[in-house]
């Protein structure tokens, strides 16, 4: 299924057969600015993999590559053994990749239930003619998926907001609805872009609990970009640190925290170390 040969730049990949996502040597440049520079990593089934790094390190760019919004100049991305690069975003979504956004990208005029139902867009197959008549297959699929959405509402404790347009909800709840929309897709890998950005302590704790539930109860592999170091170190199984698009260390939270290069990148001495060596 996977082929990390002898030259595999992804370190510490003990069981390649168990991988959901394999990213190899991806480089993405915009007119001379190299946003992602030779990044490789893998995510095993059920793993919570975190990507951290200072602002502008290329974390969100990696997500945009994974979900098909950007196309990198070189490298490969394999999802469950299938090549992802070059596919349009909706095709990648249909393969089982879901994501949330750093700045909430919900459908503000639609209700919570409608947003979640949109997450199940690809679980329904009926066409426009059936939709006009709303009988038979269209009705059956709508009811079945409405029931499936209720599972997500229950899982994320969204009951009281079900019928409200999401634009009216508090920020923390909107973040939760966005997670719900991704979960409603029943993805095999979930990309979380700063799930607790801008949240207060209580909301952060709620979100941390939901993220753990997703991993432990639903068993969905996750890639998380996050600036909240406490959260990352508590939740993640493994962490990759990026600086100026380059991976500087991948390992367990404890290993990463003690790495001198990581400390340097975060404490602002990168001009002497990274910049000097480039």
């Amino acid at each position: 299924m996977s082929l990390p040969g002898p030259g595999n730049p992804d370190p510490g990949n003990p069981d390649p057969g168990n991988n959901v996502l394999e990213v190899e040597d991806v480089t993405l440049a915009f007119d001379g600015v190299t946003a992602v520079d030779g990044v490789s990593f893998h995510v095993a089934a059920g793993e919570l993999f975190a990507i951290i790094g200072p602002n502008g390190a290329g974390k969100t760019s990696i997500f945009n590559v994974l979900s098909g919004v950007y196309r990198p100049q070189s490298g490969s991305v394999r999802f469950l053994g299938q090549d992802v690069l070059g596919k349009r975003p909706h095709k990648i979504a249909a393969m089982g990749v879901a994501r949330t956004f750093q700045n909430i990208e919900l459908f503000a005029h639609l209700t919570v239930v409608e947003n979640l139902m949109l997450g199940r867009h690809n679980h329904m197959r009926y066409g426009a003619l059936a939709a006009f008549a709303w009988v038979g297959r269209a009705r059956r699929e709508e009811l079945a998926n409405r029931a499936a959405v209720e599972e997500v509402v229950d899982f994320l404790e969204l009951e009281q907001w079900r019928r409200l347009p999401v634009g009216l909800l508090p920020y923390g709840v909107q973040k939760r609805v966005e997670l719900g929309r991704a979960l409603a897709m029943e993805p095999k890998v979930l990309l979380l872009d700063e799930p607790v950005a801008g949240m207060n302590v209580e909301e952060t704790e709620d979100m941390a609990r939901f993220v753990l539930d997703v991993r432990d109860e639903l068993g969905i592999a996750m890639v998380m970009v996050e600036h909240d170091m406490g959260l990352v170190m508590d939740l993640a199984d493994r962490v990759m640190v990026l600086d100026f698009g380059k991976p500087i260390r991948t390992g367990t939270p404890a290993e990463v925290q003690q790495d001198p290069d990581v400390v340097r990148a975060y404490l602002g001495e990168q001009h002497q170390t990274v910049g000097g060596s480039a």
């Binding site: 979900s67 098909g68 919004v69 349009r88 975003p89 909706h90 979504a93 249909a94 879901a98 994501r99 956004f101 990208e105 919900l106 459908f107 503000a108 005029h109 639609l110 409608e114 139902m117 949109l118 997450g119 867009h121 690809n122 329904m124 009926y126 426009a128 939709a131 006009f132 008549a133 709303w134 269209a138 699929e141 709508e142 009811l143 409405r146 029931a147 209720e150 929309r181 991704a182 897709m185």
Partner: protein, 366 residues
């Protein structure tokens, strides 16, 4: 459940077409009133209402592409024209002055008009995949001018400017609906025909917009990036929105002049597109009932302004005075769009929702 009408015990109730008791009651009452109307009002008002119902079908179409899918189209007049000429040519007299095939059966030419216009919409749709917002509006505006030119020059189809051609022939099961029968007058029959057609097309549209297709339209409108990432094929749904919208425009176009019986190529100018935009904005973008309210409002507006001279003597009823009803009417279109966009962006539908919410909590509303 008894005594608790808003407690849903199944998803079928939750997703029902009319999911609350007040909605069912009000819809039923409206249906009864509309069906009794022919026996209560004069024929000329019935004809106006029939035109309003047809306009409502067209406005629902524009609302699907602009209100639901968020693709601003100023080209609605072009698709209305395609429908009007398809219907008129198909049902027209084969030996007449202009092109005609003599297929007078209403369901046949109605469906054909919709399909031809829908196909035209599908051809135009790729523009919407590349452009958005103002740019799309300007390009669709170009369609109107293109259409005006074609219909002016193609005199064997359209009869030419100032001359025109007869509209489609409304014949259902061998009965000419525009001619008086034993029971009803022509206008009464046309009124009932247009009302039934409006109900059918409104129900179909309402089903579409609450389906996965309609949700995908709204997703494309609200956040196209997020829509793609959850699996909505943007190009496909934009094309579908244009096709459905132009299908509705084609159907409405073929019926629009049946009441008057005659039309000429000058009817499909930019003003017609603007009128439909006004219907959608004044009625309420992104709602089916709003489109119907807006269409009836805009259609009845000339009738209301014509009554003005009796109340305000400085407005003259003919074209000679300093301030004429025609000027008042033109100004009112613009004024109403401006006022609604600023004061009530959700349109007549928004006003209705506010009234409803006030009475729902009465006497404890604040």
């Amino acid at each position: 459940m008894k005594g608790r009408p808003e407690l849903y015990t199944s998803y079928a109730q939750d997703t029902a077409f009319l999911n609350t008791r007040p909605k069912r009651t009000w819809t039923g009452a409206l249906l009864v009133v509309a069906l009794l109307m022919p026996f209560a009002v004069t024929d000329d008002l019935l004809m106006l209402l029939a035109t309003g119902f047809v306009a409502a079908i067209g406005a629902i179409g524009l609302n699907i592409v602009t209100g639901y899918a968020g693709q601003v189209s100023l080209g609605h007049a072009f698709f209305l024209a395609i429908g009007a000429y398809t219907g008129a040519a198909l049902s027209g007299d084969p030996d007449g002055r202009v092109l005609g095939f003599g297929v007078t059966s209403l369901p046949v030419w109605l469906l054909a008009s919709g399909l031809v216009a829908g196909l035209a919409g599908l051809i135009v749709a790729p523009l919407a995949v590349r452009l958005r917002g103002l740019y799309l509006a300007i390009v669709t505006l170009g369609l109107v001018f293109l259409g005006e030119h074609i219909f002016r020059e193609w005199t064997s189809l359209t009869g030419g400017p100032g001359v025109g051609r007869p509209a489609a022939v409304p014949e259902l099961f061998g009965v000419r609906l525009d001619r008086a029968s034993a029971l009803f007058t022509g206008p009464q029959q046309l009124y009932l025909l247009m009302f039934v057609l409006l109900v059918i097309f409104a129900v179909l549209a309402r089903n579409l917009v609450r389906s996965r297709i309609g949700r995908a339209f709204a997703a494309v409108r609200d956040r196209d990036l997020a829509a793609a990432v959850i699996g909505v094929d943007l190009a496909r749904y934009k094309a579908l929105a244009f096709a459905v919208s132009s299908f509705y425009a084609g159907v409405a176009g073929s019926l629009l002049f049946v009441v008057n019986g005659f039309f000429d190529p000058g009817s499909f100018g930019l003003l017609l597109s603007v009128q439909y935009i006004a219907m959608v904005l004044i009625g309420g973008a992104g709602t089916i009932s709003g489109a119907i309210m807006g269409a009836l409002f805009i259609t009845l507006l000339p009738r209301i302004t014509r009554e003005l001279p009796t109340v305000l003597p400085f407005i003259s009823a003919d074209a000679t005075g300093a301030v004429t009803v025609f000027q008042v009417e033109a100004v009112l279109y613009g004024l109403l769009i401006v006022v609604f966009l600023i004061v009530e962006p959700r349109g007549l539908f928004g006003i209705w929702v506010r009234v409803r919410n006030y009475w729902r909590t009465w006497p404890f509303s604040y």
